[in-house]
Symmetry: C2
Subunit: 381 residues, 2 copies
């Protein structure tokens, strides 16, 4: 029985949740995982242990699959280009993926496309940082162009402070103005190779310590104009970069009496934490949609099924095993949808998430926070 | 990282769909499957090939798991009782499961509980059949007490017709009156060992050739009284038989000018085809609920999220591989939720199902039928 086969690079929670969608669609997943105990290997029978930068491992995967895709961006682009040249579909393609791998390349291209961004520059020396800070105002944001995630590789640097990353003429750092944003938004877009495109409702993301802690869908109190603009930015980026699959565009919203301003912060070309809410709240989840898009299948409806949905991340836990708190959680919140990733507890680690849907956003936020409190072992007396 | 482990006997679509729920709850599933290519083995890494009547295989499974459960009833009860006696949780327990294994035992017990059933008797000889037919009217329904499913082991026998099953004094057949039902209903109940119980909305099931073809949730046009009665029958059976896990109670509805009458037709003690609609239409699916119940975790909310939901089965296909029809299906019906089971196509075989939710039941029924038409390869010109 010939089935569609998707190879996914990465063994974390994203490939794990992709498997739930793959089972429904009868898509065979092959995963390249870091360890046989990884979140993905626990649930994907065809998991192979290997490094994402191992050209041979990637080639073996691509040979067996209809398409090669990713749950993270840390894959050598030259290897992907070589696979493509040999006729193996790689989606998103290396020429699109580079914008999620290198933040300087991303800024250059978004500027060309006319996508609103914070003011930015590259720094090869301490003098470059000072010059930029004096021009746009202190503090400034300094980012390593490659390899960062969840707040890693990002620093806020004030006048006379030292940049905590090596300054090097060969590998410049990215400098960005420190945007006085009032809120953060994210728009999730899915695009097929031929151009078919769907967006989900724009969400508000609440970060703590540089890590996504909570997502509210749709973003509360957004004007229809700003909602449309945010969606438009998502479409523009997806089309401009030629993305296939799911693209997450994270944005700063600056709300002033004179009006709203949107500035693109980060991109991810894969299912993204800001889209976990779609598993339980929307007709088609980001995981199903990513599979459909990279397989060049027609995209699914992205309607939100209830007026509001709130997703909260479980970041670390005082419990040795958060699922030990299921009896309390499930008794108190029988309508909460809990997702744990099979990961060992470590401080601040993304261990799972909870989504709650309903009619009253304030109630849902309280309930989602309570769910996380229970799974964290910080139970009320 | 200690996880809850559930062992499931059976390698079909039910254990396959149970895996999707297990992934979310971070429950490790171990499956005893018929073949390494089975619907379940494709998606459950811990699948072991073995027979459901192999006492050693069952014991090995039970030793490794927190609880042993089933996706079908064809398991030797004595083996289960022995495992229980050794302290291994088996849910539902053998004393409950026997009612889903042996239709005569089921009828006897339902009669004791006062559950409304068709008139019935046992037959050890052709004379017994004739006597019953003359008493309740011809034709009569003849069933083999054990081993039947999807219309197999069931025959409608008219006066002077021969019973197509061996008549044997040792292994009597079950005789039932041929109920002039107007519709068929099913109620799905989940129960924890301690007695906590939840029902889903009562559904209408439409059978073709003795096999479930379509489910409409909730059952259209049912009076509140009949809805309550059907739910009450479900509760009575679940409590009376001491079921743990999901129980499906299939009922005949006889609508007459004088009022409605409900009669229990069949029982299943596991997730059931009439409950597939819960995956996409209700807050908690039957698969998640079954895992929660057998693990003695608090049960989830069973609210239906949209006014109507229709599930249609794919029974055989003229296509070699039904998923080849995805481009057409997904273009025409971007909101349809398709589930294929990874099974080779055979005439009439349950290969998958489609669920569609929305506001207008007639539209949904047309759309679900169209989805099946496409997956069946019976495309309109």
């Amino acid at each position: 029985m010939p089935q569609r086969t998707v190879a996914v690079v990465g063994g974390g929670q994203l490939a794990r949740m992709m498997q739930q969608a793959a089972v429904g669609l009868q898509v065979r997943l092959i995963a390249l995982v870091e360890s046989p105990e990884s979140a993905t290997a626990q649930v994907v029978p065809d998991s192979r242990v290997g490094r994402a930068d191992d050209a041979e491992a990637l080639a073996a995967l691509a040979h067996e699959a209809d398409v090669l895709t990713f749950e993270h961006e840390h894959v050598p682009n030259a290897t992907l280009a070589a696979l493509r040249a040999e006729g193996h579909p790689v989606e998103p393609g290396p020429e699109a993926l580079v914008h999620a791998q290198d933040k300087v390349v991303m800024r250059e291209r978004l500027a060309e496309l006319g996508v609103p961004c914070p003011r930015w520059a590259v720094a090869r020396s301490a003098e470059d940082v000072t010059r930029f800070g004096e021009a746009v105002g202190w503090p400034v944001v300094v980012k390593t162009p490659r390899g960062g995630y969840d707040g890693k590789g990002v620093a806020v640097v004030d006048r006379d402070e030292t940049v905590p990353f090596p300054l090097d003429a060969e590998q410049p750092l990215l400098l960005e103005e420190h945007v006085p944003f009032t809120r953060e938004l994210a728009v999730l877009v899915a695009r097929r190779p031929g151009g078919e495109l769907r967006t989900w409702p724009v969400v508000e993301t609440i970060q703590r310590g540089g890590v996504c802690a909570e997502v509210v869908s749709p973003a509360p109190g957004l004007s229809p104009t700003t909602m449309r603009q945010a969606e438009g930015v998502g479409r523009l980026v997806a089309e401009g970069l030629g993305v296939t699959g799911v693209l997450a565009v994270e944005m700063f919203l600056v709300e002033t009496p004179g009006g709203d301003r949107l500035l693109v912060n980060e991109l991810a070309m894969r299912p993204h934490n800001s889209g976990h809410v779609t598993i339980d709240a929307h007709t088609t989840s980001q995981f199903e949609q990513h599979l459909r898009a990279v397989l060049d299948l027609p995209l699914g409806d992205t309607t939100q099924r209830e007026p509001w949905a709130v997703m909260a991340n479980l970041l670390g836990s005082e419990l040795e095993e958060p699922s030990d708190a299921y009896p309390t959680l499930m008794t108190e919140l029988p309508h909460a949808k809990v997702h744990l990733y099979g990961k060992e507890v470590r401080p601040g680690r993304k261990l799972g998430h909870v989504t709650i849907v309903g009619d009253d956003v304030d109630t849902l936020r309280v309930q989602a926070a309570r769910a996380i409190e229970i799974l964290s072992g910080r139970r009320r007396a």
